[in-house]
Symmetry: C3
Amino acid sequence: MTEKKKKISIIVFSGDYDKAFAAFTIASGAAALNYEVNLFFTFFGLDIIKKKRGRHFLGRGFRARFFNFLLGGRNNLPLSRLNFAGLSPLLLGNLAKKRRVAGVDELLDASIKLGVNFYACETAGVLLALQKDDFIPEVKKVIGIGSFLELQEGGTTLFI
Amino acid sequence: MTEKKKKISIIVFSGDYDKAFAAFTIASGAAALNYEVNLFFTFFGLDIIKKKRGRHFLGRGFRARFFNFLLGGRNNLPLSRLNFAGLSPLLLGNLAKKRRVAGVDELLDASIKLGVNFYACETAGVLLALQKDDFIPEVKKVIGIGSFLELQEGGTTLFI
Amino acid sequence: MTEKKKKISIIVFSGDYDKAFAAFTIASGAAALNYEVNLFFTFFGLDIIKKKRGRHFLGRGFRARFFNFLLGGRNNLPLSRLNFAGLSPLLLGNLAKKRRVAGVDELLDASIKLGVNFYACETAGVLLALQKDDFIPEVKKVIGIGSFLELQEGGTTLFI
């Protein structure tokens, strides 16, 4: 007689500050309501869960190292619009603090505490030469798209 | 013996002309087919449902007022690509008119007439210092992510 | 006693290299796992399935022809971020080759071979003055949003 747990899964493709904000707001909100929540970070989204939060040359190979440097890590997530060379995310973070709204860091922490499942995409990891050890320890596993498809089956799934 | 009504819910995160066009095309199309349709406007998407359609300083606080001014309202939605300083949305609107395809304004009107439900996101509203009264009257309610999750349960859900 | 086939449908709205990469990775991955897969190309996404892969004036009418030229075809898909005037997609394609990861062309081919269904959006086709004959022959049909809504019912649906 146990009710099936509701589920939401998000493919976090974007590495924009505002979209990370949206993803973690949905994730932590759903987890607080006792949903099973799966976050599958891929492509630019991998930038959000790198252990090194600043601008670093990571991985092997010149191209991958350069790309990782350009991405810039969680401290340098841009806005998807009105970015103004990185000024706007600061403005927005500041605005969030002033209005007592949680920013990306706080929402990430909340998601972790509420039991959200973090996964990194295998293919994107190969492309950017990133391995499990390059990500925050909360990343459970590096998985392929097939495993993610299985995880999300029967729930709500978003591409952000 | 009544069949459950089909349902589609859209998180309208983007404030781009082309993506608003997509969101309202799906919304009005689905509503015409007797779907329950829920639109949850958040972040840049709030720009689409502001009562004041032009470029205005809205809300309290310098940062929020400046951000609202930059966003520019429904009359100034940019294209997500090939925007050319706002020329392209005009070009596209013009193209739509010439080909007798409905533009964003007509699709918004159609969505309203077909009974699509409009909701504004509470958190984004706090960030941009916008209140229910700043939105078009068709916005039913300002709600949090938890309420939206409940609304979309059991249907198709998109993030645009 | 036959189990219902799992299904995933993707609205391919974006014409970015990285997002096309994501769409075809999901599509081919799901098809390999015996999912029914429906791709509905619309707006910028139509650029991916044009028969002419280069930069061409297509369609009737100056505006539509110019827009198609600007879009540039499958050979000129930009990155959604860090595009650097088209240099980055080359860099990324190159990176994919070096790491033996399939690029957009290979993933498109794989999707076709695995039986993924390709559809083009009617409204976007009208806007850009593109007809069935302008698309690769694997595009089954040009359909409206209503037909797509029916197709996706009961499966996972993403907007990319």
